[in-house]
Symmetry: C2
Subunit: 201 residues, 2 copies
């Protein structure tokens, strides 16, 4: 009865894409410029995919920018179950990663193959952070909230008591490792921001 | 003085990505499931990129799914200047397209080359809608609000007085042209929705 199977997988894809709608309700700590609300993880995922694409000329020649973009589109999907945790959280990082792993197995598991395994592999590659593509993706992901904070007079740093030292110590190494030109730019801007008093104590 | 130019283009990329932040404030007519607000065009762009990636096994073999995803990430950026217009608007479509063209030339013009020309070419390919990639991208873009409406008991169709006939007439041909399996699925679901009374008069 092949006609019964003509749309095999379509309902699963629909179930998956509607499940993803929940990422629009996961809020982060930065406000979009000029808006009186917090950013959500869905629009953030779009913006960092655009940032990575815009930074492509700064990527090592061997980097597959399409895989970077795909990783960035899926990297926060586990937050549907776990919520967003600020990168400056001091503890609970391992527990959070374990919970996110369970979450993405559930969510990508809604899909048929090969899509389910493909998205899970992208998520894991980002999570491990070892490939050149994953390092470039991490640099875009870490740089974006810094760029928004620099344009927002340090809004989320001040609201959450984050110091200049903590920002530089936490985001400097991954951005330097993934996109040295971006770190060179940010280092100067962050030093200016420190002089302006845009950090927490 | 080469060192002065070491970050050539970085400030332009930063200016561009902060300009893109405005797309988070462009609202559409559908509400995310379970949220008491309208969807914005940034999170929509993320979701349709994920829909296209999830539908990849339904694409013709020659389709470059990465170009589809890139097109979907940039296709709504002109709305930063023009706002969103519902696909069911009866008139003003040509004027709107001309205004969007001017908008994307301004916005992508913030970037250095080759990024500026690359994004503009992607936007134009989507706008023209002729390549197999553009047709597949249009199918994902048109299908997504229908899927949300079907999950929302026809929320935006009822709020905006959109009939079953108008939905089928406007979105059927582009979805059929770009992703026939998706249209086959939606045709049945839309007929069920009509019987449920989920459309406007």
């Amino acid at each position: 009865m092949p006609s019964l199977h003509a749309n095999t997988g379509m309902q699963q894809i629909v179930d998956f894409i509607l499940e993803l709608d929940k990422l629009k309700g996961v809020t982060r700590k930065v406000r979009p410029l000029g808006l009186d609300r917090y950013e959500n993880s869905a629009e953030h995922s779009w913006q960092i995919a655009m940032l990575a694409a815009s930074l492509a000329p700064f990527a090592e020649p061997a980097i597959d920018i399409n895989r970077v973009i795909a990783m960035l589109l899926v990297h926060d999907i586990g937050e549907i179950d776990t919520g967003d945790t600020m990168v400056f959280a001091e503890s609970g990082w391992d527990e959070r990663k374990a919970a996110e792993q369970i979450a993405v197995e559930r969510i990508f598991g809604v899909l048929p193959e090969p899509q389910s395994a493909m998205f899970l592999a992208l998520w894991r590659e980002f999570d491990e952070g070892k490939s050149a593509e994953a390092r470039f993706a991490h640099a875009a992901d870490r740089a974006m909230p810094v760029l928004l904070n620099l344009a927002n007079n340090g809004q989320s740093w001040r609201e959450n008591g984050i110091s200049h030292e903590r920002v530089v110590g936490r985001i400097g190494p991954p951005i330097q490792a993934g996109c040295p030109a971006m770190w060179k730019y940010l280092e100067t801007r962050l030093e200016e921001a420190r002089r302006q008093g845009w950090f927490g104590a």
